[in-house]
């Protein structure tokens, strides 16, 4: 619980402090876009688009903060019924930016029975993004670089999501405290990534753990409860 509280306070303070400048940034950008609408300059349309995109990104940062704060403040966040394959697809497209340059082969094995889950989309994508980025990093400098994302519908009504790499594996002393905050093996990193992943997954009623793969590499797995189609309102 202490871990939760420390992160919670940090998130809440950060949220308040960051929202103010984000508000100012958004206002200036949106105002500039309004001015550019009246401009007859040759470059105005391009500028307008760039300024609008920048504003959208500032609002997106606000969204991320809001989700994080809702979740630490109430211990519950805004959850919607989402399609797990879509979440994975969207997170992958972000995680794999630049992956082609480092030549990582990516494959998916998605169980059609693990389709609908009740989640905070942004949070679960954050978890997926984190695990996939870690996996790609873990494979730097090894000859075989294969990333697999797999889902399985388990008998207990949970969807098990695995992110599997062919990297060098985890040192035993690290794996014991992998999900503790401020533990890291990276040169640059605060060591809060996996800790936040655990907090998010557990708040969704799931578990997260790591396993060594006998043939080399590591699997990070987490579970989410599956939503049965009958549970969802008829109109979706």
């Amino acid at each position: 619980m202490a871990r939760f509280t420390a992160l919670g306070e940090m998130a809440s303070t950060l949220a308040h402090e960051i929202n103010q400048p984000l508000t100012a940034i958004t206002n200036y950008l949106k105002g500039s876009r309004r001015l550019l609408e009246k401009s007859t300059e040759e470059n105005a349309p391009m500028l307008r688009e760039a300024v609008e995109k920048a504003a959208e990104q500032a609002l997106r940062a606000g969204d991320v903060i809001r989700h994080l704060r809702d979740f630490v403040a109430r211990g519950e966040s805004e959850r919607q019924v989402e399609r797990l394959p879509t979440l994975i697809e969207e997170a992958s497209s972000l995680a794999l930016v630049g992956a082609r340059e480092v030549d990582v082969r990516v494959s998916y094995k998605l169980d059609p029975a693990a389709e609908l889950v009740l989640t905070d989309r942004i949070q679960i994508q954050q978890v997926l993004l984190n695990l996939m980025r870690n996996a790609i990093e873990a494979m730097q400098g090894v000859p075989r670089r294969e990333l697999q994302v797999m889902t399985v519908a388990r008998d207990d009504g949970m969807a098990e999501v695995s992110v599997i790499d062919t990297g060098t594996g985890l040192a035993p002393e690290v794996s014991a405290q992998l999900f503790q905050p401020f533990v890291t093996t990276k040169k640059q990193g605060m060591g809060v990534g996996l800790s936040i992943c655990r907090t998010i997954v557990e708040s969704h009623g799931g578990h997260i753990w790591a396993e060594a793969i006998p043939t080399g590499g590591t699997a990070f797995r987490f579970t989410l409860r599956i939503v049965e189609k009958e549970e969802v309102a008829n109109d979706r």
Partner: protein
């Protein structure tokens, strides 16, 4: 004519305040900036035009106290409350103290401008109607009885566990109802949902 388009901005954060001044000027509003509710009240004459956009969390007189003092002094300007911390309980309190609308920082300019326009319009009508209220009412009507009960709980600022206990159902069932309510109401966030519910409720 300009008198109808006057916006008083009250925010203790100087950068946010100035950015609002800039944004609203580009949308052709006349803007006056105040660093605190006290500064506004000191300037306020008996006859005031336009509407107020105020932050809720400020040192000295906060947004809620500001709403009370305005009413005590007989000012009837519509007030839009901005919050950096979308606390549902606080939002409900603001609406009950007479706020015309509340929006969450950071916001899309259209959201703010729409809120200002409808607040200014409402001044000219005795029976104010939020432009979206018919649409919101339609969505509300699409909720099942259970979903409506869950919505009422959420609007009261209750956590899922308490709503579940009150209704005698499991927290997980509440979560599913809640997700269904969010999608049927086309709500982008919990505070957006509360805002819609309150807009309709306050005009009943």
């Amino acid at each position: 004519m300009t008198g109808n388009h006057l916006v008083h901005v009250v925010d203790d954060d100087v950068d946010v305040r100035k950015s609002l001044g800039f944004l609203l000027a580009t949308a052709d509003f006349a803007v006056r900036l105040y660093e605190s509710a006290t500064a506004f009240l000191a300037m306020a004459t008996s006859h005031l035009d336009g509407c107020i956009v105020t932050d809720v969390r400020m040192p000295g007189i906060d947004g809620i106290e500001f709403l009370r003092q305005l009413r005590t002094r007989g000012h009837t300007l519509p007030v839009i409350v901005m919050t950096g911390h979308a606390d549902v309980a606080l939002a409900v309190q603001a609406m009950k103290e007479g706020a015309a609308d509340f929006i969450e920082k950071p916001f899309d300019d259209e959201v703010l401008i729409e809120a200002i326009r409808s607040a200014l319009d409402s001044r000219n009508r005795t029976e104010a109607t939020h432009p979206q209220s018919a649409e919101i009412r339609g969505r509300l009507a699409a909720l099942s009885e259970r979903e409506r009960q869950v919505l009422d709980g959420l609007v009261s600022g209750l956590p899922n566990k308490t709503i579940a206990y009150d209704l005698g159902i499991s927290p997980r069932t509440v979560e599913i109802h809640r997700a269904n309510v969010m999608s049927k109401m086309a709500a982008s966030s919990l505070s957006h949902l509360v805002r819609m519910a309150l807009v309709v409720e306050s005009k009943r």
